[in-house]
């Protein structure tokens, strides 16, 4: 396999020594078919064992290796180095606090995701003898696209609203909540509605569409959020009519 060198400029940050992140360059002998992650692993294995970065599956499934590559959020395990020139800049994902080097803090996201109750909620617990809950292929198709999210956080790193409104629940969390609202087995939409309509909910999204542009799994969180806006407006209007009818 042909080999040549590229300069990989990596953002470094050691919270015990650095006041702010800095850039450090490495000359890496790369192969034509390498992904960005392989260059980072080469640096870690052969040039600088102090480099910290997250990765796991190497096949765009685990969502661990999201980073900014030349300013654009990418999954480094599927981003070919050949897409870039002789100098490639790798930085931690934007819009997240940096723990160390390329590792970002995800606690804030996990709290937001948890608040939206991203699991199937039933109004009444089913007894085992009732058997499995059935779902048709058509019902599955209603939400399947939104269930493909791998929580890689590229959408958060690209979103200008996340950058300006720290309380915004964000693309992946809202898309996941909408995915459960669309699931024919779920009965928890009313419980999610308050937080989805509230401060930092779906109506904070100004539809920049950046999340959809960078999503590596074609989940299209922007589409999910706009659909959730419409669904929330309709359910709000419906509840208003139902309340008035009940009152009269």
């Amino acid at each position: 396999m042909a080999e040549h060198t590229k300069i990989i400029a990596v953002t470094r940050f050691d919270p015990e020594r650095d006041d702010a992140p800095r850039s450090q360059e490495y000359e890496v002998p790369v192969q034509e078919d390498w992904k960005v992650l392989e260059a980072l692993n080469y640096i870690k294995d052969h040039l600088d064992p102090t480099l910290s970065h997250r990765w796991s599956c190497r096949m765009a499934v685990c969502g661990s290796c999201g980073m900014n590559v030349n300013g654009e959020p990418k999954l480094t395990c599927r981003e070919p180095l050949s897409n870039y020139g002789e100098r490639v800049e790798v930085a931690p994902l934007a819009n997240f606090p940096v723990v160390r080097d390329l590792v970002v803090e995800l606690e804030g996201f996990l709290e937001k995701l948890g608040a939206l109750k991203p699991w199937i909620m039933l109004a009444k617990q089913r007894a085992p003898e009732e058997g499995a809950t059935r779902q048709s292929p058509a019902e599955l198709a209603d939400f399947k696209q939104f269930s493909m999210c791998i929580n890689c956080m590229l959408c958060y790193a690209a979103c200008p609203v996340v950058a300006n409104e720290p309380d915004f629940l964000g693309p992946a969390a809202l898309a996941t909540a909408h995915r459960y609202n669309l699931d024919s087995r779920d009965e928890g939409a009313a419980q999610r509605a308050e937080i989805m309509r509230g401060e930092g909910g779906v109506f904070s999204c100004s539809y920049a569409n950046e999340c959809a542009e960078v999503c590596p799994k074609n989940v299209d969180p922007a589409g999910a959020i706009q659909q959730a806006k419409l669904a929330n407006v309709l359910s709000w209007a419906r509840s208003f009519v139902v309340r008035r009818r009940a009152a009269s």
């Binding site: 654009e72 934007a94 997240f96 723990v99 200008p160 950058a163 539809y207 950046e210 659909q227 806006k229």
Partner: protein, 130 residues
């Protein structure tokens, strides 16, 4: 921990520029809305006030402003057409959502027909402007 930094290409990246341009259009909507209110006020104030309002529209600055607003509104419409299909639910009642090309084609069709009708009306070919 180091604090978060904003997206690297914000606001200079091409996609962000398009988004910002879309948002900044509200600065055009404000004077246009005010002008519409002035038009309604002039209409309600009699012939002389209406003629004075119409004369004001011939000022070069007003014409330039309307030209910019026309271009911007067209661009906003085209951006909306591109982003519209995926905002619609997958299911409309018992029916699956129509294919994207049909939704976008329908929007372009209505846009073209409305533009043609408005152009003909302004040229005095239809309606009572002639």
């Amino acid at each position: 921990m180091a604090p978060p930094r904003p997206p690297d290409r914000f606001p200079a990246g091409p996609r962000y520029r398009s988004y910002l341009l879309f948002g900044m259009g509200s600065a055009l909507m404000l004077p246009l809305g005010f002008e519409l209110l002035c038009a309604l006020w002039a209409l309600a104030s009699g012939d002389a006030a209406w003629r004075e309002f119409q004369a004001g529209l011939r000022h070069p600055l007003r014409i330039a402003g309307h030209a910019v607003a026309g271009v911007w509104l067209t661009w906003v419409a085209l951006r909306f057409f591109r982003l519209f299909p995926k905002t619609q639910p997958f299911r409309l009642g018992p029916f699956r959502r129509p294919p994207d090309w049909l939704l976008v084609g329908g929007l372009y069709g209505v846009f073209a027909a409305a533009s043609l009708a408005l152009g003909l009306w302004l040229a005095g070919r239809i309606g009572g402007l002639g």
